[in-house]
């Protein structure tokens, strides 16, 4: 299945957001996720199915002003 993860087109097998994070090697803690512009809380990543073409954001803490 093709997804856009942080604006990069990639091919993945994961069927859920939680699985995607594992597949890509993101830690469960310390990142926040959104699918197609909607926030997905950590505890809902398991229940968050992914569909071909979904746009996923995985964000980490960063310096800010």
């Amino acid at each position: 299945m093709k997804l856009k993860v942080n604006a990069e087109e990639i091919q993945v097998s994961a069927a859920t957001l939680a699985a995607l994070c594992r597949e890509l090697g993101y830690p469960e803690q310390g990142v926040a996720t959104a699918v197609n512009g909607e926030f997905v809380p950590r505890q809902q990543r398991d229940n968050q199915p992914l569909r071909d073409g979904d746009a996923v954001e995985i964000l980490a803490p960063m310096q800010g002003g």
């Binding site: 942080n6 993101y26 926030f39 980490a60 960063m62 310096q63 800010g64 002003g65």
Partner: protein
């Protein structure tokens, strides 16, 4: 002392964490600034890179509150989603709400700002809106649930100081009870002191410290300037006059033809 969203703060300086030459400089700057609130953000990161975690651990080790921003968001939707993501990662209801309306000036889109502020306030966020000196926008933000306002001094990163002192005075006079923080545009400690002398409750700045020759030293300079400005505001500043008036008593001036004592 400053009270924002029922949190009491001793320091009236909020410091940004971006653009420091090194993590050590950032740490030293935050320490010497005596800031109790620092701004942070969320960004995309490659899996396994971990720089975000290292940054977050550094911040947590500083014992300060974090104020996550929504920098770079141009729509209500982006800002709202980013705020939710930040609340989860940083475990705080506070959010510095930025909805950018123009990339040249990085100025707020006051329409999107008010809308996003309303949505987030209803969602239980405590919103610190980055806004302009516009009084009417300010009224809308308060109606939307904000209990702090953060008008700009000048566009982000310009260091121009207080671009519209008149407008900022009007805003302060119009909302005597609301905590007002000058956010953005502060370039030097004298700008920060001026903001506090005008009765502003605090300043938020980043570039003026992180891009200084010696960021930690500049951070301390701002800490002193903010204290100076507040202390002066409370102590009651003299009014400026057009006409000169001698400080040394005229009475009893030597060599004057008039007798100098009763």
């Amino acid at each position: 002392m400053l009270n924002v969203y029922d949190t009491v703060l001793n320091s009236r300086l909020f410091l940004g964490t971006a653009q420091y030459p090194s993590p050590e400089q950032l740490r030293a700057a935050v320490e010497r600034s005596q800031a109790e609130v620092v701004t942070v953000s969320l960004r995309r990161e490659a899996a396994g890179e971990g720089s975000g975690q290292r940054f977050w651990q550094l911040i947590q080790s500083l014992g300060v509150r974090v104020l996550p921003n929504t920098a770079g968001c141009h729509t209500v939707q982006e800002a709202v989603t980013t705020a939710h993501m930040a609340r989860e990662v940083f475990a705080t209801r506070w959010v510095k709400l930025e909805v950018i309306g123009d990339d040249a000036t990085l100025q707020p889109d006051v329409f999107g700002l008010v809308e996003a502020a309303r949505i987030l306030s209803e969602d239980g966020f405590q919103v610190f809106p980055y806004t302009t000196e516009d009084l009417v926008v300010a009224e809308r933000l308060l109606a939307a649930g904000c209990r702090v306002l953060m008008p700009w001094g000048a566009p982000i990163g310009t260091g121009r100081g207080l671009n519209n002192v008149y407008g900022l005075r009007q805003l302060r006079a119009h909302f005597p009870e609301i905590p007002l923080v000058v956010d953005a545009g502060i370039g030097s400690p004298s700008h920060a002191a001026q903001a506090l002398e005008l009765g502003y409750d605090a300043v938020l700045l980043n570039t003026a410290v992180s891009k200084a020759g010696d960021p930690p030293a500049m951070a301390e300079a701002f800490a002193q300037a903010v204290n100076a400005g507040r202390l002066a505001y409370e102590a009651g500043l003299m009014e400026a006059h057009d006409l000169a008036a001698p400080s040394t008593p005229e009475f009893g001036t030597p060599f004057s033809p008039w007798s100098g004592h009763a």
